[in-house]
Symmetry: C2
Subunit: 239 residues, 2 copies
DNA sequence: TATTTTTGGATTGTTAACAATCTGTGTTAT
DNA sequence: ATAACACAGATTGTTAACAATCCAAAAATA
């Protein structure tokens, strides 16, 4: 079983009557968000079409979409690889997150229903549980999930979509550069953010979120040199 | 000659050794930005592959990319259409622009070189010229071009990319809902923005840009009802 | 006449075979 | 022993033929 197969194995293979391309794209995005697929991994067309029991054309289409999302790098005649953001990319991505989540956050303060706040709190509980059990993969996934959920509460699909892209890339960055300790969202920062939203205090919420993002970014250690490259990503130097 | 062919005719058909898919994508994006292609227009695969003298597979790939950019809506078994943003989409898009351009603008104040400022001023001159001649298509294109150029000066490729997407959709929106008069960026707003950047005054620049975007948005008239739909876009109601 | 059904053409979706390119291995020559 | 070269397997890129679906106009029915 290839590494890619392992990473994507326990996925959305239940048919669910959704278009095939969507299933492939979402499976790969999930795997990246959960850090089961790491930066630089090659996504071979054969491997994927075997995995999803489909035509290479479908895989090709899916890879084109992922390339447009900037989550996959496509090198002509060489193939598709999970993107490996450079340290500069990382800084740009986190600046973009601050710009976008700032507004998402204010929207959330204005528009959150009681149901939304309940959902957020229930998510917090899940995060705490995962951390309590020392279940790191789940903690990583839920940590991103909190931000995505907040995006939904903000009710601006354009901003949500960008945020999902950016958190995806943040997962790659953390996988590449995260120091072994720390790095995960301190969940009490999430909790205090929900408090501020419930209190309908936009300025506090915005400030908390901004600090939170700076903490995450600060927790990243840009080794002075190249990213910890495993064979494949050597090829991936951005032009 | 089909309407699509007319819109894309005078385009980047010079080969330029760039990958074919890129040429198709960029041609269509340019045509949308210039409002030669209007919302709801069908992008038939045959028509495009004839136009670009290429395989349908290439067209398909290009359309997948444009769909990922949210500039094209893909309806299964029916085809690809230039997206028709709803009034709610428009509000979301302009809010996103404010969130993003705010930061781009501060970046520009911090990082603009003398060359950058010269470029901006030269762009302003072109805008003035186009308006003076009453050349509306050129004025529309250059008006968007100013914002895109500002994005480049900000030197955050992530934000620039989102801005390019958003200004593209803004072109569609303006094409759909713009009242006949007004609506174009008042170029003196652009000019004053450049002044603020040259004066290295981030707060003034940010304020000017925010107001500028609100003016554009205010100039849009959301007819209470459906967008001015020409046959095809009737099919395009978002799910 | 108005509504439904049928039917033909056109368009999109799918598949498989073929061509071009790359990667790694093994050989040869210096 | 090292470097350049050549070959074979594997991977990506391209193309064309075929199948399924949709759309619009004509025919049939009420």
């Amino acid at each position: 079983m290839t590494p890619v197969a392992q990473a994507l194995a326990a996925c959305n293979l239940g048919d669910m009557d959704k278009p095939l391309e969507t299933i492939i794209v979402d499976s790969i995005l999930d795997a990246i968000a959960d850090q089961r697929l790491r930066a630089g991994t090659k996504l071979g067309e054969q491997a994927l079409s075997d995995l999803f029991r489909c035509n290479r054309a479908h895989v090709r289409r899916a890879l084109a979409t992922l390339t447009a999302y900037r989550v996959v790098d496509h090198l002509p005649n060489r193939g598709a690889f999970v993107a490996t953001p450079t340290p500069q990319d990382a800084r740009d991505i986190f600046q973009a997150r601050r710009a976008i989540e700032r507004v998402i956050c204010r929207n959330a303060v204005n528009q959150a229903t009681e149901q939304d706040i309940a959902d957020l709190r229930s998510h917090l509980a899940q995060e705490a549980a995962a951390k309590g059990q020392g279940n790191r993969p789940a903690a990583v996934r839920l940590s991103r999930g909190f931000h995505v959920l907040l995006g939904r509460v903000g009710r601006n699909p354009v901003l949500s979509r960008y945020l999902e892209e950016l958190t995806m890339q943040s997962s790659l960055i953390i996988g590449l550069y995260a120091s072994a300790h720390g790095t995960l969202c301190a969940e009490d920062e999430h909790a205090r953010l929900v408090d501020a939203i419930e209190a309908r205090d936009p300025d506090a919420a915005q400030r908390l979120l901004d600090e939170h993002l700076r903490h995450i970014e600060a927790g990243i250690e840009f080794g002075d040199e190249a990213p910890p490259t495993d064979m494949l990503s050597a090829v991936l130097k951005r032009s």
